[in-house]
Structures are given as structure tokens and as C-alpha cells.
Amino acid sequence: MFATSETLLILVILPPFISFALNGLIPDLRKNKKTSSGISILAIVISALSSIALVVINPDTDIVFEWIPLTSFSPIIFGFFIDPIVLIMFLIVSLVSLAVQVYSLDYLREESPLSFGRYYTFQSLFAFSMLGFVASLSLLQIYIFWELVGLCSYLLIGFWYTRPEASRAAVKAFWVTRFGDVGFAIGMVLLWGATGTFFLPELFIKAPEISNPFLTLSLFLIVLGAMGKSAQFPLHVWLPDAMEGPTPVSALIHAATMVVAGIYLILRLFPLFELTLDPLVFVMWIGTITALLGACLAIVQNDIKRILAYSTVSQLGYMMAALGAGGAGVAYFHLFTHAFFKSLLFLAAGSLIHSLHTSDIWSMGKLAKKTPQVTALFLIGSLALSGVFPFSGHFSKDEILMWMHVRGFTLHFIILLITAFITSFYMFRAFFVVFFGKGESTSGQEVQEVKTPWVMTLPMWILAVITIFAGFQAGNFFNFLGLRLEEVHTHLEYLPLIVSILGIALAWTFYQGRYLSSKNVAISLSPINTALEKKFWMDDVYLWAYRYVLDGLSIVCGWFDRYLVDGLVNFTAYYTKRASQKLRTIQTGHAQDYLYGIIIAILLLFFLSILSPYLSPFLNEKENSVEFSEQIIQKGLQDDDD
């Protein structure tokens, strides 16, 4: 039994890596669409099946090996392990990956074989990194996989690298998350410095000994990393731009899996966070602010993917807030449901974009009749996101809100409630405009037909089914985690649902019923509208920081180096040259003058020898060296006598 669970663990993590290696190393495989995608999908199928098997067995196992040998400190150990949290993440990652990879078969149909192969190579690498990240048993190992998923995100955002926006977005995503990782890296090293280990179980045992301000500091720094990866305010700016990548990538990486890595990290390190509360309070505030901010920004977006991206930011904010309030379980449940319904939404949006070649919601419209299937799928996703019963989002979001309410974080509760209202508003704004709108596209073209082959719809339907039924499994979910679902009965129990429905109604009034004109409202609230459209100037702040801080410092350093440090060198060189031109005139060319030079040298030597007793402190070996020369002379004389 023990051996099998270990094998299964390896079977979860390793197949994507093998697929990556095969595709990466053998160009012939990569250049063929069938082999590259086939290998990748086969690998992720094995992972998914093994994950399901593991969930069924629910074993407790680990694999440990030494990575860096050290003698004066304990060596750095790596390992993979399984516990319920890991298993659920395994399930999410492998299932969504599978869905997305199958979906991509059609989505990327028009790509050249080479970039198609590249896509699947990166997908495999991502699946491997994410699964490895989830099961990591060492903080350093977590960091390694953390960066690797970041790399995959970079590579996949920049998948269409010839588009300047895509390459810019890729680099931006990498930079911003990397900035957070600076904090993570330092925090990690600090924790290591205090405990001498990266190994999580050992770390948890030793952590209570760490003095408190120090632990708080390290955890703050680690939270910085989590904020970068999970797109929390103020490091959320990369996620909307990341939508430049192919939509399946957004569904997988920027909705379901990678962006929740930050939440997962905090969850994983929860035993540490429980020791000191300040970072958690910080996390809660950040989460709450992000949730509201993301939702507000989503209202004014016209790009369907960006709406979804901001909604991801907002939902991640929910999770963070819940984590900060101590509700690790509810946060995780929301992560679980969100992964499925958000990827469903992305994939549905993707199938529209794929057919219509635009992502502007105003260019779409009247799609409900053309593609009822996608409409239904999108509706399921939207309802789930808005938190309407009986979809999974309702249960998880309800749990979070109730948790906040019961724990007495009333202010946060109210903000999150407002956010829920805005969420359903912007979601249904998009829904009504896209599927029932008039298609006010600027080009004026009639909306084309939406083609959805089964490779696209099947993954979506699977996700939709999960979305519909996952909510009812809350009890099982918490049991599986070893937690107890808190049955809360207060008078506010139905408030979130009411708020959501109100939001939908408002969206209907504006965009379907057209009883209110959104333009008039925008004009009357123009300062707010401007602020929203400018994304609260966050991007500008970053651009400013990039241009004037980083580039500015680089100009200072570069200029200093080139023209001052190096200038000084050249200055010395130049004046040496000039001085030599002056100095060479003392070479008169008269042989006798040189002889005077020799005599002066003799004089100098003479004075040196006279002064040598006074210089002896510097040459304390003088006697020694004299003896040495004596010896040589004596030896010479002896030879002579022979």
C-alpha cells in the first residue's frame, strides 16, 4: 500500500515532466502537432487519473532526498508529500490542465506545428511545475517551483511573441511577480537563518522558538511574494495585461492554478502565520482592498478577457481576505470552486474570441441564438461567480462572507458584500452585452458564426458539471480536509444571495432593459469613471517607477561608470601620455648625460645603504638576508679554493 501511494505520487508529478523533456529535447516530436499534443495530453491524463486514485485512497506518504550537501549546517533536503490539501490541489491542477489542453487542440488549430509544439511543451512544463509546487515539502523547493510556474506564465503570456503587447505583458508579469519574489526570497532566507532548515515539518516544529518581530518580518516578506503571484493590490497590475496570452492559458494559469499559488503558499505556511497575527491582519486588508478594487475596475472594461481578469483579481482578494481572517478552510474551498467556474468562463469566452477574432464585448452581441451552448456555459459560470444558488460559487462565497461576519470583521464583511454586488453587476453586464446586445461593433460587420467543435465543448461541459455540483460537496470537502463545516444561521444568511440578485437586476436594467443609460451615469459620475478607466493610475505609477527609478538609476550608474569612473581612467591615461611627451625631453641624446644618470643612481643606492639601519623596521629580515649573501660568498670562495 505504501509503495503504491508513492508510485502514484510519482505518477502524478513525473509524466508532465517526461512529456516536457521529450518535447523539449526531440525536435521531431515537437514539430509534429499530433505527437506533441498527444504526449502532453497523455501525460496529463496519467496525472489526472493518478490524482483521482490518490484522492480515493487518501494516503499519507512522502519522498525525501538530499539536494545540496552541507556539513556545517544541515543539508538542504527536498521532498514531495501528500496530504488532503495537496490532493485537492492535485485534482484542480490536473483536471483543469487536462480540460485546457484538450480545449487548446482546437483553439490553436491555426498555429504552425512549431509553435503548437512549443505550446504543449510549455503546458507540460507548467503542469509539472505546478504539481511539484503543490506537493513540495521544503520551502526552498516551493520557491523553485514557484519561480518555474512564473517562468511558464511568462513563456505562455508571450506565446504570440511577435505581438508587442504580448511580449510586453509577458515581461511585465515576470517583473512584477519577481518583485514580490524578492520579498519571498528574503523572507525564506530569514526563516532559514532562524531555524536552520527549509524542511517544512521541521520548520513548523522550530518556528515557535523564533523571536516574534523577526518571525513577523519574515512572514510579511513572504506575503509580499504571495501578493505578487496572486495579483494582490498593489502588485495586481500584471494580471489584466497577462490576458495577451492565449485564452486557454489564461484559463489555466491566470485563473485556476498559478495565481492561487500565493494563497496556497500562505495556506501551506499557516502554522507559521498562526504564531503571529500581524501578517494575517495585513493579508486580510490587502485581500479586502483587492477584492473591491478588482470588482470596480471590472465594471469599466470592454474587453471580455480583462473583465474576467479583474474578476479573478477580485476573487483572489476574497480568498486572501478569508485567509487573513483565519478561514483557511473557507478560502481553500473558494479556491477550489473558483478554479473550475473561472476556467469555465475563460474557456467559454475563448471559444467566442476564437470564432469572432475579437475580445471586445461591444463587437459581440446577439450570440445567444447563434450559440446557445456557449451561452448556457457562460451563464453557468457567471451565476457561479455571482454567487447565485445552486452554483458552487454561491456556497464558497457565502462561507467567506459568513466567516467574516461571524468573526466580527464587520467592515470587511460590508466591503466584501458590496464587492459581491458589483461582481454580479459587471458579470451580467458582460453577459447581457455579449449574448443579447445589439452588436454595436465599430466595424459594423455582422457577427460571424460561432463554431464550437466537441473538443472545445466537452472540457467546458465537464467544468460546468463540476461547477454545478461542487457546491453541494462542501461538507465532504471540509471533511476531507479534516475540518468541520460550520453551519451558520444568522439573520444575514440570505443577504449575499439577495445582493447578487440585485446586482444582476441592475445590470439588466442598464444593458438589457435599457431603462437606464450607462453613458449618462458615467457622465454624471465622471471623476470616478475617469479614475476607473485610468485603473486608479496604478499602471502609471509603475511606469513612472520603471522609467524614473529603475531606468533613472541605471542612467546614473551607467553614466557614472562610463564617463566618470572610466573618464578618470582615461584622464589618467591621457595625462600620462602628455606627461611622457614632456618628460622624454630629458633624454638629450648625449651619451655623457646618461652617464650622469648612472652616477645619480649610484648615489641613491649609496644613500639607501647608509640609511638601511634606519629602515630596518620595515625590513626586519635584514640580518637574515645579509647572512644569506654571506653564505653564498663563502660557498663561492670554497669552490674557488678547490
Partner: protein, 176 residues
């Protein structure tokens, strides 16, 4: 005062005075002649020091050969350049200062060195035939340097020939 001391002082006086004459004479030919005499005096000093062979060679090679060479060269150059061999000095005072300084340094080291003292108890070499021993040593222990020296002399001859060669060869002064 021993008799060889008297001879030494006489020789020394002669050597110094002819040397002074050699460097200070206005006419370069005369300088050459004085140099020859100075070299002869040195040869006698060598005799006094028991170096008979060396004295002989000094007279033959130095006073004879070298001086002849110099005088020949001077005469040739006078013919060539049509210049009077009147010699003037320049920078006498710095030259004098420098030479006196060097003299002082040399003397300082000599008189402050304990080694010279230890060496200055003179030993006579008259127990054995100096010239004979010298020749034997020269052609046994020192034969390699001797051969190298002969190669050097050959090289010097060829070098001198090449350097001084003219359209009309005037190499007859090379006797070495």
C-alpha cells in the same frame, strides 16, 4: 720603509699624473700617448704584485695594441674629416663633482667594509712559478671562458670591419 713601498709610491705618482695628463691634455694625440704611459705604469704595478704574465700582456696588448689602434684611428679621422685634433672640455665642474663623489663612495665602502680588512694581510705567491700555474689553470679550469672569449674577439673583429667598412676598404689597422 721597504724598498718595494718606495717603488710603489713612485709608480703610483707616475700613474696618477699621467692619467691626469691623459684626461686633461688639449691635444687628443697627446692624450693617447699619456694613456699609453699610464698603462705602462700599471703594468709595473702588476709586476710589483707578482703578476708577471699579466704585466707582459698589459704592455703588449694594451699599451702596444690598443694605443696603436687609437692613434691610427685618430690619424685616419683627421685625414678624413680634415679636422684639427684639438680637444676641449665641457662641463668640467659637474664632471669633477661627479668623479669626486664616486671616489668618495668607493673609498667609503672600502674603508667601512670589514671584509677588505680581513683580506689585506698580504700573502706572497712566490713559492711557485706564477706564470706557469696561471697558464695551466687558464687552459684547464678556465678553458671554456677562454674559448668563448676568443669567439668574442673574433666577433669584435668582424663587427669592427663591418662597421668601419667604406667603399674603399681601410681595414689595415685591425691587428687584433
Amino acid at each position: 720603509m721597504h724598498w718595494d713601498n718606495i717603488i710603489f709610491f713612485l709608480l703610483a705618482t707616475g700613474l696618477v699624473s699621467t692619467s691626469v695628463a691623459a684626461v686633461s691634455s688639449k691635444r687628443i694625440l697627446r692624450s693617447a700617448i699619456f694613456l699609453a704611459i699610464a698603462l705602462l705604469f700599471t703594468a709595473f704595478v702588476y709586476l710589483l704584485l707578482g703578476a708577471e704574465l699579466l704585466a707582459g700582456i698589459q704592455i703588449l696588448l694594451y699599451a702596444g695594441g690598443v694605443i696603436t689602434l687609437i692613434i691610427f684611428a685618430l690619424l685616419i679621422s683627421e685625414k678624413l674629416g680634415d679636422q684639427k685634433l684639438v680637444e676641449t672640455h665641457h662641463g668640467v665642474i659637474p664632471a669633477l663633482t661627479a668623479s669626486l663623489l664616486v671616489l668618495f663612495i668607493l673609498l667609503y665602502f672600502t674603508w667601512s667594509s670589514p671584509r677588505i680588512e680581513s683580506l689585506s694581510n698580504s700573502r706572497s705567491l712566490s713559492e711557485y712559478g706564477v706564470s706557469r700555474t696561471l697558464s695551466e689553470v687558464l687552459f684547464s679550469t678556465w678553458v671554456l671562458p677562454l674559448e668563448i672569449l676568443s669567439v668574442l674577439l673574433l666577433a669584435a673583429i668582424i663587427g669592427a670591419l663591418v662597421l668601419a667598412r667604406q667603399e674603399k676598404t681601410k681595414g689595415e689597422e685591425r691587428e687584433q
